[in-house]
């Protein structure tokens, strides 16, 4: 930490008390920040983890007691000024204050925005979404034998929920407008592997099927018919929580726009699902809704607020559990030009596939492969390796079949 930032940075305010916000707070303390840290979050409880909501919480393997991100003692040791159950309503960058919806003004010298995203919804009757602990518990109560569930959207979230619901004996219909689920993200061939897993587990997967609204007793499809279900889960993506920043002069464009240091403006940083930043490793602006990124970016934003000036250039990591498949992906797969399976086989659902974007290796996705097969690829992505060079070094036989 530079001496000048220590002198002028007495009060840090973090808005959003989840993975990114908490990591930022912890990093500030560990880096020697002795001033106040105010952590503001609109959920009532201390920071908890979301990925288990669609996995161990939904299937009942874990109770909510497994979710807190830190123990009470660890949180106490950080000496935070916590404001749980409070909503930031607006930001005044001239006065350097965050205005809460209860009228309180919270002044800051440095600000970290970590307000995440919220689910998109459909018009019509109320339906379930899955973002918070309450959402997960409400949905869980609707699953089981003799029940039916329509899941709108076969992205990772919808697919995980459908898998848990089917495993619990629920009759599940999974509705997806694209012809192959997740094709844009992970490629058609691998999307088809995941689609087949749903079919094998008795899920009625209906691709090429858009949903226009939720109706009582089901959802209306784009051909006008109704798919019936007792319960509807809408999992059609999310929107960044940036409304409270409107009028602040910060740039908002599908997220809070930040530079490669995670800075949105002098003294204002963004981290986690809400932040769109320039990742110099891939030479592109990205916003990723991945749990690991929330922590890594929270850490980077905190360090840069304290004056480190280190570009944030991670290899994004994402995992998803569906049925007995553990899917793990490193890199930036979106917009890839080619996917190649270099180990294992798609039909066994045990394989390692690598992604090319332009002339470089941009990603690796594996199901059921050991870390030691994945790690060399991960390192090559981090090193910005060219596609041809990475293939000939790491998978010479796959290169020969090109």
């Amino acid at each position: 930490m530079s001496a000048s930032s220590a002198d002028t940075l007495r009060r840090v305010v973090i808005v959003g008390a989840s993975a990114a916000g908490l990591t930022a707070a912890e990093t500030l303390r560990r880096s020697g920040h002795t001033g106040t840290i105010t952590l503001i979050g609109d959920e009532p409880a201390a920071p908890y983890d979301r990925p288990p909501l669609s996995k161990e919480i939904l299937n009942g393997a874990w109770g909510p007691d497994r979710l807190p991100l830190r123990t009470e003692a660890d949180l106490d040791a950080l000496g935070l000024d916590t404001r749980y159950g409070r909503t930031a309503a607006s930001l005044d960058r001239v006065a350097r204050t965050v205005l809460l919806s209860d009228g309180t003004e919270v002044p800051y010298d440095g600000l970290i925005v970590a307000t995440g995203v919220r689910p998109r919804r459909l018009p019509g009757a109320p339906a379930h979404t899955l973002r918070t602990l309450d959402d997960a518990l409400a949905l869980k109560g609707r699953l089981g034998p003799g029940r039916s569930l329509a899941v709108v959207g076969a992205g990772f979230l919808g697919a995980e929920a459908a898998a848990v619901a089917a495993d619990l004996g629920t009759r599940v219909t999974l509705l997806e407008p694209a012809s192959v689920p997740l094709a844009h993200a992970i490629g058609e061939d691998i999307g088809r592997v995941l689609a087949q897993a749903h079919l094998d587990h008795g899920v009625a997967l209906r691709t090429g099927t858009g949903v226009t609204e939720v109706v009582s007793g089901g959802v209306r499809l784009d051909d006008g018919s109704v798919a019936e279900a007792d319960t509807v889960l809408v999992a059609i993506g999310s929107r960044p929580n940036t409304e409270w920043l409107t009028g602040s002069g910060l740039t908002l464009d599908d997220g809070l726009v930040c530079d490669e240091f995670c800075a949105a403006a002098p003294g204002v940083y963004g981290a986690g699902d809400v932040a769109r930043w320039h990742n110099p490793l891939f030479g592109t602006s990205m916003r990723v809704e991945h749990r690991t990124n929330a922590a890594e970016q929270g850490m980077a934003a905190a360090r840069n607020l304290l004056g480190a000036r280190q570009p944030f250039a991670p290899v994004p990591y994402f995992w998803s559990d569906q049925y007995d498949m553990k899917i793990r992906a490193y890199g930036y797969l979106r917009g890839h030009d080619e996917v190649r399976v270099v180990e294992g086989s798609l039909t066994d659902r045990k394989f390692l596939a690598v992604y090319r974007t332009g002339e470089r290796l941009s990603g690796v996705l594996a199901i059921g492969m050991p870390p030691k097969s994945i790690r060399p690829w991960q390192r090559s992505i981090a090193a910005g390796a060219p596609w041809g060079g990475a293939l000939s070094a790491l998978a010479p036989s796959a290169e020969a079949t090109a």
Binding site: T71, E296, M299, K372
Partner: protein, 67 residues
Amino acid sequence: MNLKVEVDVPKCVASGQCVMLAPEVFDQRDDDGMVILLDDTPPAELHDAVRESATVCPAAAIRLAES
């Protein structure tokens, strides 16, 4: 200062962040990638890397006790 490390293996999501940061302290199982704790009382020169691992672990599966 002593640093005692504990891992909550069922929580681990096999991201490998900890292994990248502190390979002397953490490893991953071959079959499912779950974390293996190699050294529960690492020497002082590794403390920063271990603390960073605990902070970035995407499953909050690494717990530290300082004494």
